[in-house]
């Protein structure tokens, strides 16, 4: 039965207001296409046919954080109407024409977003924004139980995310829905509404009839509600029902709205290639604007002539707004484009001196848990989570004791899904928390990399620095693990992190460095809002000694009075004879330990080697590195990762570009996956390789050939 205005709690005036928002959204689409034809507008994926989402916007509050897909023009316009003084048509027009005045992305993308309206901008998404919606909902729910001063989102707010029927098949969508349901199944508060705007087709591939309902209506922990997005009244009614469940019962809802897609997938898409004329016409007849016009007439709101006049007036208005927007400036240099890649530095505090977290020397994994405990005691916004980080304290004990000390609200286990872990980090960061997420093994990052690459790292860029999702992602990785072999636990590829603009990658090579660098990583996230990946070499977690049994040189030692207790971002660490060395070995991670051992052996052969531990792998700390290098002396790059695509290549290139005059050689692992057992050593670089290369570079005879 058709919903009445009363069923939906709609007044005649509100109905007309919604209709206006729908018309505005449609006209912006049409104008955008007109200007695209003139080369003045650059993105033609529009909202036409999906304007029913104006009704959803009206039901929810402005401070209900909304992660919206690209067909959400009417949603944005209607939400803006709740904040008088928001020039939303102008702001959207600026975004369509990629003007640097665009208050959301600063001319970097057509995005549906607004800082004032709690809509973090999304770009082209294939549901990759759903995990963070789950994260935001989780964080909202948790802040109700443990109120925090720095919470950004209201405790009684809900999180929204929207996506299409085709995207609902994507693993990120499935994972996010699963994670929300998993949480709700365990009675974890999860005030979240998944809004699936089902237009029945994904570019050219039809969604099987009733598939979305069949797929999502029977999930444990998830309430399924359907409405007709073509009929604004039905959309409002369904959204109200969804809101009640999400806001009052703190449960996740799947709001399924039937829509149509008008004018193809995008401006460049010729729909007639894959749809019949009848199909296209049927959708056109089902235009939500026509349905709304009928509703308005039935409600004795306006006559057909009034509606035509209204449409005419808004059309003229929006054409003028769009034309005016095309006169505004655009980004005109790489510098202007890139300025928002790393969020603006703000309110940097001088590092307060603090006691060393481990009174007694401990190995790296204990040093990490002690540092986390110290930081978490100081900052109530920090949360720590991942698989097995809670009761077990991490596979390698790097979070041992934390849950007991700080409670399960701040240190907790997640389900086994890296996309969810990273989404939880992004979403909780949106709520003012400082997430420290753990990915159990480096290889497990790869199935979830887009959460860093496409989501976390891009937020500052596409929001012109207005939004940030600071976080530290701790990842156990790299090879040489004794006792637990195999590729997935010894993965030595870090290429995934190396070309993500703005991301910071840190890698300690001793317990002391782990303390100092983790502190710095947390500071970078807290104060500079950075996304930091903290790569912990598994093989060094428990390693105590550098040269001799019992020397304890790799343990965490409090620095001597007056000594540097900071491993500043962008600063390398140098070991060994700094006065006129015969060569420098530039390395990181396990390689740094091998190189330091090798340097001792080299010294006994009369070769003075300076070992430089890069510490910060992305971006490469070139300035600091060059300060530590003699421009004429040989450099041996020791890169434990694979020969191809690893940072040794980049380092080599950058040294040449910097005009380094001395010989440069590079050692690395082989382009192989890691086999089980001792065979692993066949494809990984070894300490002896370093010694041999160093001797060769310095014209000294190789080991084994000593006289």
């Amino acid at each position: 039965m058709r919903a009445s205005l009363d069923d939906a709690g709609l007044s005649r005036i509100k109905l007309i207001e919604l209709f206006e928002s729908q018309i505005k959204s449609r006209r912006l689409d049409l104008e955008s296409r007109r200007l695209a034809g003139q080369g003045k507008s650059f993105y033609s994926i529009g909202s036409s046919g999906h304007e029913g989402n104006a009704g959803v916007a009206d039901v929810f509050r402005v401070d209900d954080i909304a992660f919206l897909h690209y067909r959400s023009g009417a949603f944005l316009i209607q939400r803006a109407a709740k904040r008088p003084g928001t020039p939303i048509l102008w702001d959207m027009a600026l975004s369509f024409v990629a003007s640097s005045d665009d208050p959301v992305s600063g001319g970097r993308h057509k995005v549906i977003g607004s800082a004032d309206l709690f809509i973090p901008p999304q770009t082209s998404t294939i549901a990759s924004h759903l995990p963070k919606a789950v994260g935001a909902a989780y964080s909202i729910g948790a802040s109700r139980m443990n109120p925090r001063e720095d919470a950004v989102l209201a405790r009684d707010s809900v999180a929204l995310c929207s996506f299409g029927d085709a995207s609902s098949n994507h693993s990120t969508a499935q994972g996010a829905v699963n994670a929300a349901a998993w949480g709700a199944y365990r009675a974890v508060p999860m005030p979240l509404v998944f809004i699936c705007e089902d237009n029945g087709i994904g570019i050219s591939v039809p969604t099987p009839r009733s598939w979305v309902e069949a797929n999502f209506s029977q999930r444990p922990g998830l309430t399924y509600i359907a409405g007709d997005g073509r009929d604004i009244v039905s959309a409002v009614r369904a959204a109200r029902e969804a809101e009640a469940i999400a806001r009052k019962r703190r449960k996740p809802v799947f709001l399924h709205l039937r829509t149509v897609r008008l004018m193809g997938h995008a401006g460049s898409d010729m729909e007639t290639q894959y749809r019949s004329r009848q199909e296209i016409e049927r959708d056109a007849d089902d235009d939500p604007l026509l349905h709304s016009a009928r509703r308005v007439m039935e409600a004795d709101g306006l006559s057909a002539a009034d509606i035509a006049a209204l449409y005419e007036r808004l059309s003229g208005q929006i054409a003028c707004v769009m034309d005016q927007a095309t006169t505004r400036p655009r980004l005109a240099s790489a510098q202007q484009v890139m300025v928002s890649i790393a969020p603006a530095r703000e309110g940097l505090s001088a590092a307060a001196p603090k006691p060393w977290p481990t009174p007694k020397p401990v190995h790296m994994s204990r040093a990490i848990s002690a540092t986390l405990a110290q930081e978490m005691q100081k900052d109530e916004n920090i949360i720590c989570f991942g698989e097995d980080v809670g009761r077990k304290g991490g596979v390698y004990g790097a979070t041992v004791g934390l849950q007991k000390q700080l409670g399960a609200g701040r240190v907790f286990d997640t389900l086994l899904d890296e996309q969810t872990i990273l989404g939880l980090a992004i979403g909780s960061a949106h709520n003012g928390q400082l997430p420290i997420a753990e990915i159990q093994f480096l290889a497990y990052t790869h199935n979830a990399e887009d959460q860093l690459r496409g989501e976390a790292a891009t937020l500052s860029f596409f929001s012109n620095g207005q939004f940030a999702n600071p976080m530290v992602v701790r990842i156990a990785g790299l090879a040489y693990q004794k006792g637990f072999g195999g590729h997935f636990h010894n993965d030595n590829s870090i290429a995934v992190f190396r070309d993500i603009p703005g991301l910071v990658l840190a890698c300690p090579s001793s317990a002391s460095d782990a303390v100092m660098m983790l502190r710095e990583a947390i500071r970078l996230a807290r104060e500079e809002k950075r996304v930091v990946v903290f790569l912990e070499p598994i093989a060094l977690y428990g390693t105590k000694d550098l040269h001799d049994s019992g020397d304890g040189l790799l343990l965490s030692h409090a620095p001597a009075a007056g000594a540097q207790a900071v491993a500043a971002f962008g600063e390398v660490a140098a070991y060994g004879d700094s006065e006129a060395p015969d060569l420098a070995i530039v390395t990181y991670g396990n390689g740094a330990v091998f190189a330091r051992r090798s340097a001792k052996e080299l010294a006994s052969r009369g070769v003075r080697a300076k070992v430089i531990d890069l510490r910060w792998l992305v971006p490469l700390p070139m300035e600091s590195l060059l300060r530590h290098l003699d421009a004429a002396s040989p450099v041996l790059i020791v890169d434990e990762c694979r020969e191809s695509g690893s940072l040794g290549e980049e380092l080599f290139t950058r040294l040449i570009e910097a005009g380094h005059g001395g010989e440069i050689r590079r050692l690395s692992g082989r382009d192989s996956f890691i086999p089980l057992g001792p065979a692993a050593d066949e494809v990984l670089l070894q300490q002896d390789d370093i010694t041999e290369a160093a001797l060769s570079m310095t014209g000294t005879s190789a080991p084994g050939k000593r006289s």
Partner: protein, 341 residues
């Protein structure tokens, strides 16, 4: 021929000064009957006839400046100016105003009839004159080139935070109107003078409009004026928060509550309403109704703040005005000629 899209801006208090004396007689002779009708309606309520005030041989602060007379003069002049706009040439796409100008906007946009607009203005003018408390200070926070001096503006706003009973009354962007009770105003004046820069100017016979100090007046006004005076606007209206009220979708009850509620007791953000006017309606011209044109500079400053039509300074604005004026002030004879038949 396509009509030019124009946003009409209604002036506020202080726009009928000595130079404006005789404004109605000069410009609205053919509307004398309508003016007389309005005066006739005012008479039983004890208000002076504006036609007579306008016809006095000399400007008298005692007669022309008190709130009720000033408001009635400005209302009548402005709505008559509105009626004089050449509708063949201009398509009026939205209306906004400054402070008192909001009441005028309601009448221009058709939310109130001409008579009910006059009633609203006279009622409020009378109430303010009799029961208005506190006063207003006018302060420029503009650089010489009419860009906003953000440092000074920030300083003033933070000063307001610190002084009990002091408020931002009207935000014109590069010009601020501050309000408060007498003690707060004295302290504001002293602190602002100590901070240097242009001294604030006390506005004569003004109360602390747009502040919580007038909550009682808002309540009294709601008792005197019924909600059913208000109807839907025929033209989009932009209020003192930048909110847009569209002809078909306007919530008339909300318009009434705002007009006799938050509009009276909260900051009137004129700069925001002009920003919304230019950005959301992209007009070809702005038409500032008379009398006077003292609002011209603040409007120009808002345009400059948003680099509208590439204008970034007073010089740019003046050059644009000379070439092809974007702002047409009906209170100036030269520009008035471009707006009327």
């Amino acid at each position: 021929m396509n009509r030019e899209r124009a946003v009409v801006i209604c002036p506020g208090r202080g726009s009928y000064s000595a130079q404006e004396l005789g404004y109605l007689a000069r410009h609205h002779e053919q509307r004398a009957a309508r003016i007389a009708d309005l005066d006739e309606q005012r008479e039983p309520r004890g208000a002076a006839a504006v036609a007579s005030l306008d016809a006095l041989s000399r400007f008298s602060p005692a007669k022309h400046l008190p709130g009720r007379n000033a408001s009635n003069l400005i209302y009548t002049s402005a709505v008559m100016d509105f009626a004089a706009i050449d509708q063949e040439r201009f398509d009026i796409v939205a209306v906004c105003g400054n402070s008192l100008g909001w009441y005028l906007s309601l009448a221009c946009a058709g939310t109130l009839s001409l008579e009910d607009g006059a009633l609203l203005v006279d009622t409020m003018g009378d109430l303010m004159e009799r029961e208005g408390v506190g006063g207003q200070l006018l302060l420029s926070v503009a650089h010489d080139d009419w860009t906003i001096d953000h440092e000074r503006r920030g300083m003033v706003l933070s000063l307001l935070e610190k002084i009990d009973g002091a408020y931002l009354s009207i935000d014109l962007g590069a010009t601020l109107v501050l309000a408060g009770d007498d003690a707060a105003l004295a302290r504001l004046k002293r602190d602002l003078e100590a901070a240097g820069g242009d001294a604030p100017v006390r506005l004569p016979k003004h109360a602390a409009f747009h502040t919580p100090l007038l909550s009682d007046i808002a309540e009294t006004a709601r008792g005197l004026l019924a909600a059913d005076l208000f109807g839907a606007p025929a033209t989009p209206l932009i209020d003192g928060r930048g909110g847009v009220h569209s002809p078909y979708a306007a919530d008339v009850d909300a318009l009434y509550s705002y007009t006799l509620g938050a509009q009276i007791t909260r900051t009137y953000d004129f700069a925001k309403s002009v920003e919304v006017a230019i950005k959301e309606f992209a007009p070809d011209r702005l038409i500032l109704l008379g009398p006077g044109y003292s609002l011209g500079a603040p409007i120009a400053q808002v345009l400059i703040a948003h680099r509208w039509h590439g204008m970034t300074s007073r010089d740019d604005f003046m050059a644009q005005q000379k070439r092809d004026p974007f702002l047409l002030a009906m209170g100036r004879d030269d520009q008035r000629a471009m707006t009327t038949l």
